[in-house]
Symmetry: C2
Subunit: 393 residues, 2 copies
Amino acid sequence: MDNFNFYSPTEFVFGRGRENEAGELVKKHGGSKVLVHFGGGSAVRSGLLDRVTASLDKAGVPYVSLGGVKPNPRDTLVYEGIELCRKENVDFILCVGGGSVIDSAKAIAAGVVYDGDFWDFYSGKAVIEKAVPVATVLTIAAAGSEGSGDTVVTQESTGLKRGAGSNALRPRFSIMNPELTCTLPAFQTACGAADIMAHVFERYFTNTQEVEITDRLCEAVLCTMVKEAPRVIADPNNYEARANIMWAGTVAHTNIVGVGRSQDWNSHNIEHELSGLYDVAHGAGLAVIMPSWMEFVMPHNPMRFAQMATRVFGCAMNFENPEATAMEGIRCFRRFLKELGLPINFAELGAKEEDIPVLVEKLGLGDGRTGGFVQLSSEDVAQIYRIAARATV
Amino acid sequence: MDNFNFYSPTEFVFGRGRENEAGELVKKHGGSKVLVHFGGGSAVRSGLLDRVTASLDKAGVPYVSLGGVKPNPRDTLVYEGIELCRKENVDFILCVGGGSVIDSAKAIAAGVVYDGDFWDFYSGKAVIEKAVPVATVLTIAAAGSEGSGDTVVTQESTGLKRGAGSNALRPRFSIMNPELTCTLPAFQTACGAADIMAHVFERYFTNTQEVEITDRLCEAVLCTMVKEAPRVIADPNNYEARANIMWAGTVAHTNIVGVGRSQDWNSHNIEHELSGLYDVAHGAGLAVIMPSWMEFVMPHNPMRFAQMATRVFGCAMNFENPEATAMEGIRCFRRFLKELGLPINFAELGAKEEDIPVLVEKLGLGDGRTGGFVQLSSEDVAQIYRIAARATV
């Protein structure tokens, strides 16, 4: 096991009706002037935003609002948010939404207390050392941003989608009411499930030996998703299944399932170019890329894929031919994604095979290689895109 | 899933050599005058205490020391620690040791800032709302106190062993170097393993339905222990196995494997009277009590025990007779404990069957019942002690 630090100081406030505690929680965590940050109409239409602001009013905490976050959140709104926070002396950002809203809020939080251009953090020019406190009211189980220090933002002028991270961005509290996710369209629900599973797989495929506890924790989240995701697609109002998925999504990304080991993250890197270029949902892009990446890298460690196949998808181990078990596990995963209603190839996603050179170019590896489970060259990435382009179940 | 709050703000600093960061970590977490609290000779003899105090010296953090914590930590030393902290204006307690040292430190931390008798917290007269910050350098994987807000102390004059808890007692940081546990005697190592598994089982046996994620996380820790505990008994210097067990011990008790569900804790309650009366190791007492408790309560929900048997111990499911699978799982657990070198009945523990009325009396249920998975009467508890007295594999 590699040395590690694990730090997840977020107070998770989970269950029915908990959004009504938002105001008191902001006060408890030291906020005195709040930016309420949100996305499109659903938080407004459902009355959620009203409940949250009523809770702030009741607690006597003043606030300003900034809506309009889009999926794959843009730098343009972040600049607007930073300006607003400075003008209004905001000292706490409460976001109401999913991963895009939270990631946008984190970018604002870091940018407000930084003298330069906030994009420096995303382009790798600067490291986030401090930020205005962020807290969340989560409306979709997917990104895990409610329990992580990570953020991904898209630069509108270039389409570049880049990430940054810092413990300073870990939310002070996250309110998680599974009921809020019951009205999500099936496709968004399925995209969230793919994202959650991808966060685990990025940590599961490691070159570190003998990290049984983290392996088993990864498998715990994956087995939960295999059981619960089809249940919410079949019955969107199943509270118990929604609750299991929502908490699984957080556990998947605080990094408790990833400590003590090397991680991969190439599927995310490769997918980011897809959702950057076509503006497709991140989870849908992952459904196309992840099994294709698995097929490509499986020969690097067939036994690890056989372990996934048997422990997560219940495949029988083929002791004479572990590769066959490994491949069966990958097929199970792709079938599972397809049955959730997700795309599994370029055509279903709305991507084009002839754009592969553009995607590879945007990833910017050049003659270099990525890190991770298998170090990939530009040609390797192109091959993964080609597998993804034509995948079937 | 029940509504819940989950809050585990401890910074875990894990791996080889990390104890040398103690001084800088104390400074980072705001300590300016430290009480170094420890137990008997092993931390001194091994040179660990010197490395920790050298790290404090290097960071320029002054400290006073208080050693002498015994297993099942006593109130008498807590009073001494409170007096010392007040006299020396201590604002941070750094403990070096295992669960007993940490629990003693937490009692001191709560007592220093309380006007009354600290025992009020343990007798249920008062609730802990604030405490001096505590941090740990862990030397044994067992109690999970390095990641919890819980503390258990024994009142020397009465032999009463009682617990208290508060988020204010959650350590600010915990340094966890698995190498430090390699010199532990096999028996103490095994006792720690039993304690870790018990912390999971207390949460696993629930009456809340459909909490798949927490079930799976529980099973992740249990499967890890089933694999790794025999390896460290066979090879005490196996770093990887030690590391897996050490982190499993923390995961078992931050409560991440217990959220959203009713819990039990009767095995702990019943065991506390054993270690209170005979001053035996807590983990040894649990090895005797826990499988006996399982036998007694199994008819309440045989399928839950069958789930444990198949998922944790790899038993084949007997679909015609789930109770048979359930009993086989309990037998597997008791055999597993025995093979680790732990006692499984009163004689092996050094307890006496004729003391059962005294044990039941001390538990103090009277005509009432405990809460938990199955609500137990005094007679139920007596029956569990009788099963435990004569258990065999």
